[in-house]
Symmetry: C2
Subunit: 344 residues, 2 copies
């Protein structure tokens, strides 16, 4: 069975293919009656518009490319959910690609997205991405780029959607203080990553604001795996048996600490209140459930996609350093629900 094109329809109806095209696109240059006839015939013949041809002619693909390090990470998949929802509403398709944290693959992906003439690109760069020539190349091809979450410095012509890590950490720490904690520890991550530096800053700032002295020995650094959490919990308790609150830079390490506290009979949250960071899906499932900071991947995705589509719609006036900073949200759960110390 041959592929049905507008030309077949035109022939069958004895009209010109341009009329068919206009009818299918609901142009006002064609009568309602003709439209009806065309639509009918199209359905009858099982016509499926060829987007390749359409896109080629219009020089628009109505498609945006999304590049993330790894699709199976919850944060990214929820980001994608947000992007998809937004794009979908405006009739855009989404091509999703994963760099697997490798610059080389990321470069290939970008090359490919350009070749496919996407209308724009959303990217959260890989850990291996130090330089951004491949991204600059997008702009050369008049394809706007918006970073979300992980971004590169020095690209003023690209939009950015970031989360305020410092604020998130501040809120987490403040929450612990408001729950009556006086001796609050902090598990930090590799200082090479900006997010962990910012979270540490937020922690410090909250302490300062509430007149709690900052003590370096309350801050431990690791890769924040579950085992690290356990080890750090052990270590911090040995040094500070009076610990009554803990703010972890991610949920995984919080779960590790959790486990250790339980084995030695410390109760959570009665003896030690815990707040994590990220709101991983499992943090609602722990016992007690884990208070944490929600980065809302969905929100980030929506914001990034909105920013990108706005610029596409504006006919690609280059994005001059437009940066959206989102506020993370505290998700209060069991691990921090201790009776507030009565002050009066």
């Amino acid at each position: 069975m041959k592929n049905v094109t507008i030309h077949e329809i035109a022939k069958a109806l004895n009209v010109n293919s341009s009329t068919v095209s206009r009818a299918l696109n609901d142009s006002d240059r064609v009568t309602a009656k003709t439209k009806r006839k065309v639509l009918e015939k199209a359905k009858e013949m099982g016509y499926q518009r060829n987007m390749l041809a359409s896109n080629l002619r219009r020089k628009k693909s109505n498609t945006i490319g999304v590049v993330v390090p790894r699709i199976s990470r919850h944060f990214f998949s929820s980001t994608i959910a947000g992007i998809e929802e937004t794009a979908y509403k405006l009739g855009f398709n989404v091509i999703i690609c994963q760099s697997l944290e490798e610059l080389e693959k990321e470069e290939l992906i970008i090359e490919n997205l350009i070749a496919n003439r996407v209308d724009g690109i959303l990217i959260s760069v890989s850990m291996g991405t130090k330089k951004g020539e491949h991204l600059a190349n997008c702009l050369n091809n008049r394809i706007p780029v918006v970073f979300f979450d992980r971004h590169l410095e020095g690209f003023p012509d690209m939009g950015k959607v970031l989360i305020d890590d410092q604020l998130g950490a501040y809120r987490a720490t403040e929450h612990l203080i408001q729950k009556g904690c006086k001796k609050i520890g902090h598990f930090s991550g590799p200082k090479s990553l900006l997010i962990y530096k910012n979270r540490l800053e937020g922690y410090k700032m909250a302490l300062k604001n509430y007149h709690i002295p900052y003590d370096e020995s309350y801050v431990l650094t690791s890769k924040l795996m579950k085992e690290d959490g356990l080890e750090m919990a052990k270590k911090i308790l040995k040094e500070h048996s009076d610990l009554d609150g803990l703010f972890c830079s991610n949920d995984t390490s919080a779960v590790g600490a959790f486990g250790y506290f339980k084995t030695i009979g410390k109760r959570v949250p009665e003896d030690i209140a815990i707040v994590g960071f990220s709101n991983e899906p499992f943090s609602a499932l722990t016992e007690p459930s884990l208070t944490t900071i929600d980065q809302s991947g969905e929100e980030i995705g929506k914001a990034a996609c909105t920013l990108l589509l706005k610029h596409i719609a504006s006919g690609n006036t280059l994005i001059t350093n437009e940066t959206v900073i989102l506020n993370p949200k505290l998700i209060e759960r069991g691990s921090s629900q201790r009776q507030t110390a009565t002050i009066f």
Copy 2:
């Protein structure tokens, strides 16, 4: 800056665009010297091949469409990872779409994939998908379809990659028996879904094989949320205080049961051993960690993609009911590690 096409390159080098095209495609109809010249010029001019034009002409998009209910579910995102890896190796692009469990959206997606002339479609149908006209329509357009995980009955011309749920459940139950459990409960899901029926069957079969009488009252049914797990745990213990093993049809409900057992002082695994199903990322993080059945999304994705690409490569000889059934794997963790009862 104008978009560079093969024609610009041709003009610049004073050759014909067909020669440029062939040079770029490394055809043997053009001299090595000319190829070199063309490649050089192409790079110099910043040429980016227009895939839309190429695909239109070749009537191939080198792209496959993937449709899943929800990208943020770990199982699906790991499936996609497997698909991507396989497709990528063979030079195929992947368009990922989510139906959000709605037939209507799924239909739109399929429509769109056909319009974009994808070379094939991989789909795990939505819960709302009862009929498959939209999928039949793919075959009408000579686009092969392969189901993975969730499939529709009555489509002999589409490939299928499934997991043997019954076997998985059998292994889970057998494992509990081998760990010395005698009174094994089972949390089942909505019986409308085949997977839960099959898991129940596997549970029964294991009991039978090991001469343990099947008792209906040891099987509870729910939607398998965390709260359901907690409730069911409470209920089953009330009726059967001698419960010493529990096989849950998913990890989430297992975590719920977990929590309840702990609050009433039942130890896991010493008093009650637990096995879940799915190997969600959080199941390695619970305390103790959860023994479970791994469905290996990656494997399924790879298998499905391989099957599809095989048929695309074969020039779309229709897939006559090729079905691949994968074996789930038992992941032994803490929640089932009790000393094996000495028999002698």
